[in-house]
Amino acid sequence: MRDPSPARVVADADVLAADLLCGPDSDARAAIDHIRRHSWVTLVASDHLLADATAVIADLADDALAADWRARVEADCEVVDHPAGDHPALASAYRGGAQQLLSYDTELRSARTSASLNRHMALSIRPPDAFARLFDPESLYPVVEDGEYPGPDRDPRA
């Protein structure tokens, strides 16, 4: 299990699929672009979570796009393991030391879920529009790296 860090982020399968399928102006694209732009921000996911997103993409688009998406996203993220019955996003965050979780699932973001989770881990669960709006790399960088924020260091379309 990894040490928790605010620069480690899980995007639930709905957000990952929406990043690909909901167009360039979507909240999911804006949120995940923050992660893609910064090499020191780590996207964390389990095989189960990636399999869920792949199934959604295959369902709404086609198998070839889903397979190519999975190959590309696996190169960008740190893959963690968890038991099959666990919730893929929550377990990925727990096992992968992620302190931020992006999800459209209102139940996951409910006060009751947060209170229950925060007894075990410090996890901020937000919809992608809030993450896209509130992500502040200049404030976060000195918390996880040495020195001043150097600006985006990756091409988010590479």
Binding site: A13, D14, A17, A18, L20, L21, C22, G23, P24, S26, D27, A28, R36, D52, A53, A55, V56, D59, L60, A61, D62, L65, D68, W69, A71, R72, A84, G85, Y104, D105, P156, R157, A158
Partner: protein, 35 residues
């Protein structure tokens, strides 16, 4: 393959967040049923 290429290909299949969430709910419900 680059993200730019993937996004270009995905443009032909553009959909809504509601459709994505419904598909995921369905998929996870099937998984729960199989367990």
């Amino acid at each position: 393959m680059t993200w730019a290429t993937l996004f270009e290909r995905a443009a032909d299949h553009q959909t809504t967040v509601d459709a994505v969430c419904a598909s995921l709910d369905e998929h996870r419900a099937e998984d729960d049923g199989d367990a």
